[in-house]
Structure formats: C-alpha cells, structure tokens
C-alpha cells in the first residue's frame, strides 16, 4: 500500500521540478544566471518582476491576452448552451453529422489555419484586435464547449423539462431559471476549458496580432529573439503566466476530473 501511494508523489515531484527551475531563474540576476549553476538564488532579486509590472510593453501583454480569452469564453459558452441543449434533447435532420463536423474543427491543426485566418481577419478589418483572436479561438472552443455541455445535459433527466412545462413555465423562463442553475457545474467546467485552451494557444494569437493586441506569449518570444538572452526576465514572465491558470483551476477543482471526461462519466 505504501509503495502505491509513492507513485503519485513521485509524479507530482516530477511535475514541479521544471516549474521550480523557472521560479528559481526568475529570482536570479542576469549575472548569476550566466555565471554558473546554482540550485537556488544566491542574490535574491525581484528586479525581473519589477520590470514586468512597470514596463507597459510587458504588462499590456497580460491585459491583451486576458481580454481575448474572456471574450472568447463568454462567446463560446453562450452560443454553445442552446446548441448543446438541442443535441441532448432532440433528434433533428443531420444532427449526428453536424456533431461530427463540429468536432472535426477541434481536430484542425492551427498551423493549417494560420495563413487563411490572417487573410480573412485582415479582409474584415479585425486584424490586430482582441476580437480577431477571440473569434479565431472559437474554432476549437465552441466544439469543445458543445461537447462538454452536451455531456452534462444528458445527465439531467428529461422529466425535469416536462415537469416545468406542466407547471406552466415557458421555454425561455424554464431554460434560464431552472435548467441553467441545474447544470451550473457543467457551465463552470465548459468556461474553464475555453479559458484554458484560449490561454495556452499561441500560434493563432501571434499570427493575428502585431502591436496593439499583442499577447503576452508573443511579447516573450519576441524578447527572446531580439534583446539577447534575458533569461531571468523571460522566466519571470513565464512564471506569471501560470498564475491565471492556477487561479481558475481552484474554482473547478471538484469537477475537474469529470470535466476532463467531457461530462460523460
């Protein structure tokens, strides 16, 4: 029994090591990093973090990223809600094909879409705005949200709908007042996943922005290539990108396992 509980512990340690190393680097001075190998910072400094919080090219990156992530999450989940309801409750012409077609978009490699998206969003005048990235990310987030919500909704017995109609609820009132609170956990999980996949994606976000809406991840890659080897600064910026994820994960911690099974367990 004891050997068994060792497995998750070893695994979690393995997960934490690279994160520790990133934090370690972020608290070092550039001289110390280039000077040699040290297991923890000898001269502890917050300079790297101070630079990020005072330089607008850095902190605006976070604001830009959060902007399109939030727009994308709200948009994806609100259009996915009625669609998931339709898929879970009704049979209609072409429903199975439609469901699979939606999923194929989750399978489309972003690399395939990078160039056409650049042309499309330039043509409609959204290039370099948070809306371009938010809309582009709906390509894979809407199918995911529909899939998760459909899973959760199928777990709600249909008798709930029927009783509400007998009690004289109209459909919109039933949906907003009864159904949405019932699947609140599912909505939370769907939001979490949309947030997560929009937050971690870089290829499309970078392709669709240049200056005004540049995401933090792009600021990082450009710094890495232009201003030499500022490892400490990069490490600090990287460490800060972990914070929003850790923050949202706290809210869904009890549903996260079910969420990863797309609401179907």
């Amino acid at each position: 029994m004891r050997a068994r509980s060792l497995i998750p512990i070893v695994y979690i340690l393995f997960l934490l090591l690279p994160i520790y190393w990133l934090l370690n680097m972020s608290f070092k001075t550039t001289n110390e990093i280039l000077g040699g190998f040290t297991l923890w910072p000898q001269t502890f400094t917050l300079e790297n973090y101070a630079k990020i919080f005072t330089d607008p090219t850095w902190y605006m990156g976070y604001v830009n990223s959060l902007q399109y992530v939030v727009i994308n999450t709200v948009l994806s989940v609100s259009v996915a809600l009625p669609a998931a309801y339709a898929f879970s409750r009704y049979r209609f012409l072409g429903d199975k094909h439609l469901f699979f077609w939606l999923l194929t978009n989750r399978m489309a490699p972003p690399a395939v879409f990078a160039l056409p998206f650049l042309q499309l969003y330039s043509a409609v005048g959204l290039f370099d705005t948070p809306w371009a990235v938010a809309l582009a990310h709906t390509l894979f987030n809407i199918p995911l949200a529909v899939w998760i919500l459909e899973g959760f909704m199928s777990g709600v017995p249909k008798e709930l709908d029927e009783t509400a109609y007998i009690d004289g609820y109209s459909f919109p009132r039933f949906f907003v007042r009864i159904f949405i609170p019932t699947i609140a956990a599912g909505i939370g999980v769907a939001c979490f996943f949309c947030f997560m996949f929009s937050w971690v994606e870089l290829l499309l976000a970078k392709t669709l922005t240049s200056v005004a809406a540049k995401p933090i991840a792009a600021t990082m890659t450009r710094t890495a290539s232009t201003s030499g080897y500022e490892l400490g600064l990069l490490a600090a910026a990287g460490a800060l990108t972990i914070v929003p994820g850790a923050f949202v994960i706290y809210f869904v911690r009890n549903y996260i396992a079910k969420g990863f099974a797309l609401g179907r367990v």
Binding site: Y11, R91, A108, A111, L135, L203, I242, G245, I249
Partner: protein, 287 residues
C-alpha cells in the same frame, strides 16, 4: 435517453453553425484555392490542378516530416497512456489529498504552450539547467541543442510532463464512477487485484481511455509551439514535425501552393484517424 424528433432544434444550433462555418469553411476554401493554383505574386493565380498534391506526396521532405510525426505521436501515446493509467490507479479515491493531487496534476495543462517550451529549454540546458546538469552528472554526454537523440529525448519527456496529467484525470474520473458495491462483490468472490482490474476497472475505463487516446492523438499530431520553443525543430531538421514544416513553408517561404496541398493532406490524415476513434467511442456510448 429517448430523444424527441424536432427539426426546429436547428434554430438552437444555428448560431454555433454560423460562427464555426465563418471560421472553418472560408479558411478551408482558401486553402483549397491555394492548393490547386500557381501564383507569381500580385494576386495573379493560374490553375495548377493536382500538381501540388503530387509534388507534396512525392517530396522527401514531406515523407521525412510525416515519419517523424508518426514516430513522435506513437512514442507519446505508448508512454503516456499506460503511465497515466498507472498513476490514476495509484491515486487516493477519498480524503483531503485528492483535491491537492488533482490541482497539482492539472497545473502543466494550464501553462501557455510557448512557456512550456521556454521552461524546458531552461530546465534542460546542459550548463545551467537542472535536468541537463543531472544527466551530464550521471556521466552521459547530453546536449539537446547538438544531438538529435538528446533533442528527441527532451521533446518526448516534455510532452510526457505536459500531457500525462490529462490521461490521469480522465482515468481517475472513470475510476471514481465505479460504485463501491462492485469492489465489495469482488472481495466476496475473493478476486485478486489483477482480476479486479481486468473485469471491473478496465471495462469501465474503456470509454475514458478512448477519449484520452483521441485527444492525445489529435494534439500530439498538431504539436507546434512547445517544440519550437524548445528546439526550434532542430538540431538540423531532427525535430521538425508536420506543423513546424507547414508553418515554415506557409508563413516563412510563402509557398502557397505546396502549403495548401500539404495542409489538406495533413488535415485528411487527422480526420481519418479521428473518425475511426470517434466511431469506436460512439459505439461504446450506445452500450
């Protein structure tokens, strides 16, 4: 659940269809357009037929990238699925540590992909990285920026670090859904641990394992950002997977025709494989 026939349900799915169609159909048509035409700039296009497709399918470069991609995806699936299953089986089912475990394990999934690459870049550097130092300390010559084998090892290890948790969380969700009564019945029958796994846990896990394989197949087949951050596709071309090669052709060289043809072939491979998994999965759901 028994569903009601109702074609008006289309109104509910219409917003989704419109948005996804805007995002998927127009770009896909653009790609198809590129793939059958030749251009010399200035937006002047000539019909090229299936020439680009023939070129791509015959090119050594595409074969090499595809081979690397299949190797990588195969390796990753072979390691992550059994490892994830093992960890999920060993996890506690109840108690205060469950939440802690789950949150810690989900952490790598929430880190932007380029940060994952940058993080592993720093972590594996042979001179100032912890991993690089440790391996070299064992007396093995390791430098992922120079050795193809070292680069492959690092890229696969990074992917295991990044995504095994997804498999763990899926399997864990499947395991906690098994009612206690099943285990009690097995105990009464005097079943050995292997029998419990084989006849109680594995059948229940079939569905989540299919999702895990489907998701890991799709995502590892599209891998781009993490590898670019870690090795940039090198040394040489040794870790240039399909997406990396495609971006080089499309956004680097602006060779629209070959890029379009390659995109379509690439997408079709993923589609075909995913359709196979999806059919398997839906059959599982009907049980």
């Amino acid at each position: 659940m028994k569903k009601i026939d109702n074609n008006k349900a289309w109104w509910f799915v219409a917003p989704v269809v419109l948005l996804v169609a805007f995002n998927a159909v127009i770009p896909l048509m653009t790609v198809v357009n590129f793939s059958v035409q030749e251009t010399f700039g200035d937006n002047v296009f000539f019909w090229a037929g299936v020439q680009w497709f023939e070129d791509v399918l015959r090119s050594e470069r595409f074969h090499a990238a595809l081979f690397r991609q299949v190797m990588f995806t195969g390796l990753v699936l072979l390691i992550e699925i059994p490892l994830g299953l093992l960890i999920a089986l060993a996890m506690p089912r109840k108690g205060p540590w469950v939440s802690v475990c789950l949150v810690m394990m989900a952490l790598p999934l929430l880190i932007p992909w380029n940060v994952v690459g940058a993080m592993w870049n720093i972590f594996a550097l042979p001179d100032i990285g912890l991993l690089g130092r440790m391996i070299n300390g064992l007396g093995i010559d390791y430098n992922y920026t120079r050795q193809p084998i070292g680069a492959w090892f690092t890229v696969v290890l990074m992917d295991v670090w990044h995504w095994t948790s997804l498999v763990v969380l899926l399997c864990y969700a499947g395991l906690v859904s098994i009612p206690d009564a099943y285990y009690q019945a097995a105990k009464v029958d005097g079943a050995r641990p292997w029998a419990v796994f084989r006849y109680i846990q594995l059948p229940k896990l079939k569905y989540v394992l299919t999702i895990a394989i489907l998701l890991r197949f799709m995502d590892s087949f599209m891998i781009y950002t993490e590898v670019v951050g870690l090795t940039g596709g090198g040394p040489g071309n040794s870790t240039t997977f399909l997406s990396i090669d495609l971006v080089k052709i499309a956004l680097g060289q602006f060779d629209l025709g070959p890029a379009g043809a390659m995109s379509i072939i690439y997408f079709l491979i993923i589609l075909l494989m995913s359709w196979l998994f999806y059919t398997l999965m839906m059959r599982g759901e009907d049980r």
